[in-house]
């Protein structure tokens, strides 16, 4: 068990950084399409404001950041050999069930977000995007020679990243069948803000899990089709898939809409 649950910080947070970094924060894609003049004034404004914000000292979030000693942590995520997916899921659900305050769940997710292995910039491509999420989420799947699944994921939202981190902790290293055996309902307790089953367009859990399962299924089918043709191939990358489960109508509609947008050459007079 790792004891550093949440970074304890009762000191005021450092003043926000002003530089716009398109690589680390992809939802701000940088000032490319905004005129230079406005970008400049934005920066100046930020500098002024960050000065103001740094002396605001204590506030209610520093209370939130105080460590909650009653929390039990699930431990360093590692694709443990021999630990069944179901077992890890059980531990995850127990952990989140013990967090009654929604804010504790948010904090826990942010903590796990910080442990998600760095994601390669080259993976942030359309083929890896999870459709239907309110945030940008990228997922990649691979099948090892022995049939174990390996996953990588990333998001531009810290909370979504936390979800991904938990999902990967549960699923990474599992057998394809184990991955496919999970139901979105199993993660009901590992939610923030969405009550009940949350069949919502914005349910990251739901969408990411379904994407992981689809990729697993595709890899499994690929493997079953040609069992011994390419024995030297240690892993097969999944091919991009565009369609999404019938459960996610919103995502489907969105995908279609964006295809229409792509297929028409939209000229934006600048």
């Amino acid at each position: 068990m790792n004891s550093s649950i949440i970074r304890t910080s009762t000191t005021p947070p450092p003043p926000p950084q002003c530089s716009i970094s398109s690589s680390s924060r992809p939802w701000i894609k940088g000032p490319t399409s905004i005129s230079g003049r406005r970008t400049l004034s934005f920066r100046r404004e930020n500098e002024r404001k960050s000065l103001r914000s740094s002396d605001s000292g204590s506030n209610f979030s520093s209370r939130l950041n105080a460590r909650n000693p009653s929390l039990v942590e699930i431990g360093t995520p590692s694709p443990a050999v021999g630990t069944a997916v179901a077992d890890r899921l059980h531990r995850l659900v127990l952990e989140f069930k013990s967090l009654e305050e929604p804010m504790d769940r948010v904090k826990r997710l942010l903590h796990y977000a910080s442990r998600l292995p760095p994601y390669d910039e080259s993976g942030r491509v359309a083929e890896n995007r999870v459709v239907g999420c309110a945030t940008q989420v990228w997922v990649e799947a691979e099948m090892e020679e022995g049939g174990r699944m390996r996953f990588r994921a990333d998001s531009d939202s810290e909370i979504s990243k936390g979800f991904c981190s938990c999902l990967i902790w549960v699923l990474d290293g599992g057998e394809a069948e184990e991955v496919l055996g999970l139901k979105t309902e199993d993660f009901e307790y590992v939610n923030v803000g969405l009550h009940g089953r949350g069949h919502s367009r914005v349910n990251t859990w739901h969408n990411v899990l379904i994407t992981m399962q689809k990729k697993t299924r595709a890899l499994l089918e690929e493997k079953n089709e040609k069992p011994s043709l390419e024995p030297s191939l240690s892993s097969i990358m999944v091919s991009p898939g565009y369609e999404i489960s019938a459960q996610n109508h919103g995502g489907l509609a969105q995908t279609h809409a964006s295809h229409y947008l792509l297929s028409l050459s939209v000229t934006l007079p600048l």
Binding site: S9, N59, L64, V106
Partner: protein, 483 residues
């Protein structure tokens, strides 16, 4: 009742603002109109304010007065007082609307236009009365120019499939702005694919509002239709629709106005605008979901083929063909959303009793009108939000000449808007929207994939704005402390 209320209102504000005029203009006094209820509820509002709301300020605003009419606002979510600031997505419903729907189902639920019995006659009368109320609300010359639809999206699709398929040819141009809602873009993409027509998008100018000079230059004899929003659901900008219509008509093009974000907040007069088509959704204007409307000029609707086939829209049906009913019935196939239409009628009564001008003055009137009352909600929101560290608000900077609607889409550097919205909800009970607000092309144009949006309605107050700004500062500190 009215006298009592005026007394209270005046006592509360007289010392500070002697000419304050939010609630004491004379209103129609039919006993069943929501007016009398609104007035009555003022006495209840004092106690309601004492319980859940922040202490009543010295100046009693329109927002404070009418809050008791919206029961949903008086609750706690996630352990905090609910502060609902997602009004551009949908508005809350006053008791008068809910009561009208309940009365319909309790007293005269029946199908319309189909029976001669008492209930059907009564339902038909109320349903058609709702149509008349919409017509007079937007100043249409006749209620037959109002077609009931499920929402604004369906109204736009109706025009696209009926008028568009009939009138558009290859190379014809449809001019839109990049700031349109998906509902106003996708139907035209579908119709363009079918007809060979071409979509032309106008971008933003340096003030971050749709560039109307560019729009004017884009118009040509090829232009058959201009599709524009009235008020942007992301930028909060207001387009000069009268001018656009004038330019479009000069070259023989028609104009469809997406008035989803204007009709609930200001006086919209279709004859003044001279718009050919105008659409809006009930649920954004304090009415129920499942109903919206299309306004279309009579001569245009009369020449348009039906959109959907079925009951109600035909005149005579033979085995191989049918003759179509006159508008608006021609476009209303099947049993309509009767209770919802009646609910929308009640919402219009409610808004009219307050007066759209008053609502607009409270939310976003020009400064000089009420300078002595400090600024109105829209500017108060903008200026307050600007104080949040590293915030970037999209759309125009408000000035004496440039007015913004009472909403702000924004990003805080290095924090995803969805994380902001989640924290505001979970920790502070504040409801805001995050995402692309069904305006992905605009977000792409701005170089972002998502934004957060605070959007107000007339039941919001400056205290709500203060609260969200304080909560936002807390949110920013929270996430930054995790970095």
């Amino acid at each position: 009742m009215a006298m009592v209320m005026e007394g209270v209102a005046m006592a509360a504000v007289a010392t500070r603002f002697p000419s304050f005029r939010i609630i004491h203009r004379r209103r129609p006094s039919s006993s069943t109109s929501p007016t009398s209820r609104t007035l009555r509820s003022f006495s209840a509002s004092a106690s309601a304010l004492r319980e859940g709301d922040p202490p009543a300020p010295l100046s009693v605003s329109l927002g404070h007065v009418i809050r008791p009419d919206f029961p949903i606002l008086h609750q706690e979510v996630n352990g905090s007082r609910l502060v609902y600031l997602d009004n551009a997505a949908t508005s809350q419903k006053p008791t008068a609307v809910m009561r009208a729907i309940q009365t319909y189902y309790e007293a005269y639920n029946s199908n319309v236009h189909r029976g001669i019995h008492f209930l059907s006659a009564k339902a038909t009368e109320e349903f058609e009365l709702a149509r008349k109320k919409i017509a007079s609300f937007i100043n249409a010359s006749d209620s037959s120019e109002i077609v009931f639809t499920r929402n604004a999206t369906e109204a736009i699709n109706l025009v696209a499939y009926s008028w568009g398929l009939q009138n558009l040819k290859p190379e014809d141009e449809i001019v839109l702005t990049v700031a349109e809602h998906h509902s106003a873009i996708v139907p035209w993409q579908l119709v363009a694919q079918k007809t060979g027509a071409v979509l032309k998008f106008v971008g933003l100018n340096q003030d971050e509002v749709p560039d109307i000079n560019m729009l004017k230059e884009t118009l040509s004899t090829k232009t058959k239709l201009v599709v524009v929003h009235h008020v942007s659901n992301v930028l909060a900008s207001v387009l000069p629709v009268e001018d656009i219509v004038l330019w479009a008509h000069e070259i023989g093009a028609k104009v469809l106005v997406d008035a989803c974000q204007s009709v609930p907040h200001m006086v919209v007069d279709v004859q003044n605008l001279d718009a050919d088509f105008l659409v809006a959704s009930s649920h954004k204007m304090c009415g129920p979901t499942g109903i919206g409307f299309l306004y279309g000029k009579s001569y245009l609707l009369s020449a348009m083929p039906p959109f959907l086939g079925g009951g109600e829209m035909i005149s005579d049906v033979f085995l191989d063909h049918s003759t179509y009913a006159e508008p608006p019935s021609r476009f209303e196939a099947g049993t309509p959303a009767i209770g919802e239409a009646i609910g929308l009628g009640a919402a219009i009564d409610y808004l009219s009793a307050i007066s759209m001008q008053k609502i607009h003055d409270y939310e976003a009137s020009p400064i000089f009108l009420i300078a002595y009352l400090s600024v109105e909600l829209s500017e108060y929101l903008y200026e307050s939000l600007r104080s949040v560290p590293s915030v970037r608000i999209y759309g125009p900077v408000p000035t004496r000449n440039v007015r913004r609607a009472a909403l702000c889409s924004f990003n805080v550097e290095n924090i995803h808007p969805t994380d902001i919205a989640t924290f505001l909800d979970q920790q502070h009970g504040v409801a805001i929207r995050s995402g692309h607000h069904c305006a992905q092309p605009l977000h792409r144009y701005l170089g972002i994939s998502a934004s957060a949006r605070v959007s107000l309605h007339f039941y919001n107050t400056k205290e709500d704005v203060d609260y969200v700004v304080q909560a936002l500062n807390d949110t920013v500190n929270f996430f930054n402390s995790f970095k």
